[in-house]
Amino acid sequence: MNTTSPAPQPVLSGRGLVKRYGRVTALDNADFDLYPGEILAVIGDNGAGKSSLIKALSGAISLDEGEIQLDGKPVHFSSPMDAREAGIETVYQTLALSPALSIADNMFMGREIRRPGFAGKFLKMLDHPAMQRIAREKLNDLGLMTIQNINQAIETLSGGQRQGVAVARAAAFGSRVVIMDEPTAALGVKESRRVLELIQDVRSRGMPIVLISHNMPHVFEVADRIHIHRLGKRLCTIQPNDYTMSDAVAFMTGALEAPEIAAMA
């Protein structure tokens, strides 16, 4: 396997995706491919349809037309829960954490573990110790744990720590794909560095990652391939080593013609 011919079977792919909002066409026959083990960056100008693409892949919006395939099988997501159950975890730009609740509560939000036996089955009692233990393990795995208290509220954490919890949650439960929307947008230089390390850490365990970012240095640093989105569709996919950041910006804004290799990079 070399860098120019990726594995033939994409983990996650989209064909002819269309999403309209009234008269606005946010996705206009867009295609998408994510291959095993890679970090695919998705870049595009404001209004290019990146968000709609990502929301479609993570189940937050439903498509008007087109097909999404996971491991070659067509899938249909009508809610974020559907995508999560299929193994696609998303780290939203807003993080989707509940600030007043604890780290452990947040990591297991929507997929709580119940106690075994009577208490769990009939009283629906939660197994707090198990959830706290697993949450601690998952944070440890990513080297995020010098935490003294897994029960401290999210709002008592710094921005980087919150991002860390959100990434850890996605990495812990995502079995197929992790999608990250602008993970460094709200962070300082040092915290961004830590989050980029986290992203590479997650990839090194074989998890493919879709990274949406406006930050060209970050994109060129961590991405294996770059999907350039323009006017509601995939313009081209490039290798970060073949082009410069200004080339990428030129493609994305229409200042340069898309390269010929577009279709199957």
Partner: protein
């Protein structure tokens, strides 16, 4: 795509100064905090602490002022008995407020369901247990209506429940002809309706079944809110509804179930209120809506949702009870009771605002 073929990426040029910097940014380390910050953090973790302290202090102060009769088992059990109905309503109110909503109709649902139970059992002659069950069903329906309007029609809870408060009150006057069902009639036809007025005497204390019911309701809700997924979802929705939705919680379904449960708790309160008053009285508990909100707020549950313990409103109701009893025993005019409770409410909200600003 394999790792070995990738050129190892370097740090960005502008980041090279980072080498010598403090790397502890995303690490979770303890900080040194001032006393005030520590207090803030402590209260953030334990929002019921202030109400508990206020309750203990008020008991000590009124005990000192009013003398030993304040501490008599009779008086203490009387305080619990007096706050039992408001306490039950505060429990229902807490559920809604935890979701960042508010329910102005709790008192109206309670009185309406007590009237329905009374009319069915006495005027129509339905077996009393069935009448009570229908009342519970009515409570669920009334709460469900509020929940439907809030989630599906997307109206603000304040407006929905302000409207339903009036609607339920009008229905209550219509069904009852604004007439009470007298105590003797209940004793003859449907004594079960007065069950929660019965008392157990232990020493000098006279504990009503209604008091026990209130404590049981709080205990059950405490378990549900802290030890079931549904309970954690209620907190998450009140905290940040959009995040909860993205985390995979069916927020609207959970919200409707919150209003339904609150309605059922109000209906249980309606049954208990018949025992407390001794009759089915359509004009009773007119101020119960606002008193229940007062108890919730004094109990440290945030009006902005997602914060506070269900134990808080119980403490809040008891604080109100202790103030009323203590001030009466000391011989202070009733208006000063209102004055004191008013300040307590404002101070409680101010403290909540401060606690919510906690940061690391």
């Amino acid at each position: 795509m394999s790792d070995d073929t990738r050129t190892p990426r370097k740090q960005q040029e502008f980041e090279q100064g980072l080498g010598r910097s403090d790397k502890s940014v995303a690490a979770f380390t303890p900080h040194n905090r001032s006393f005030l910050q520590s207090t803030q953090h402590l209260l953030h973790g334990h929002p019921t602490m202030i109400p508990v302290i206020v309750l203990i202090l008020s008991i000590i102060i009124f005990g000192a002022l009013a003398g030993p009769k304040f501490f008599s088992p009779f008086n203490l059990s009387l305080i619990v008995q007096q706050v039992s109905i408001i306490g039950i309503l505060a429990a229902a109110q807490s559920l809604v407020i935890l979701t960042a909503g508010i329910d102005l109709s709790v008192g109206a649902i309670m009185v309406l369901m007590s009237v329905i139970m009374g009319q069915l059992a006495v005027t129509i002659g339905v077996p009393t247990p069935l009448a009570i069950l229908i009342g519970f069903g009515g409570g669920a329906l009334a709460g469900g209506m509020n929940g439907f309007l809030v989630t599906r029609i997307k109206l603000p809870p304040f407006i929905v429940t302000l409207g339903s408060w009036n609607i339920f009150f009008a229905l209550n006057l219509w069904l009852s002809n604004a007439q009470s069902i007298r105590s003797q009639t209940l004793d003859e036809v449907a004594p079960l309706l007065k069950l929660f007025g019965e008392t157990i005497a232990i020493g000098g204390a006279r504990i009503t079944y209604g008091s026990i019911l209130m404590l049981a309701i709080f205990a059950v809700l405490w378990f549900i809110l802290n030890h079931t997924a549904w309970g954690r979802h209620v907190y998450a929705i009140g905290d940040d509804k959009e995040s909860a939705e993205l985390s995979g919680i069916r927020t609207n379904r959970t919200l409707i179930s919150v209003y339904v449960l609150a309605g059922v708790v109000c209906a249980i309160g309606g049954w208990a209120s018949i025992g407390r008053v001794g009759s089915v009285s359509p004009q009773s508990f007119q101020e119960a809506n606002l008193q229940s909100i007062t108890a919730v707020v004094i109990g440290g549950i945030s009006l902005f949702g997602g914060r506070g313990s269900i134990a808080g409103p119980l403490i809040g109701a008891l604080i109100v009870g202790v103030f009323n009893s203590g001030l009466r025993m000391v011989g202070v005019d009733v208006l000063w009771q209102l004055f004191a409770i008013g300040w307590l409410t404002i101070i409680a909200v101010a403290i909540d605002q401060w606690i919510r600003k906690v940061s690391s």
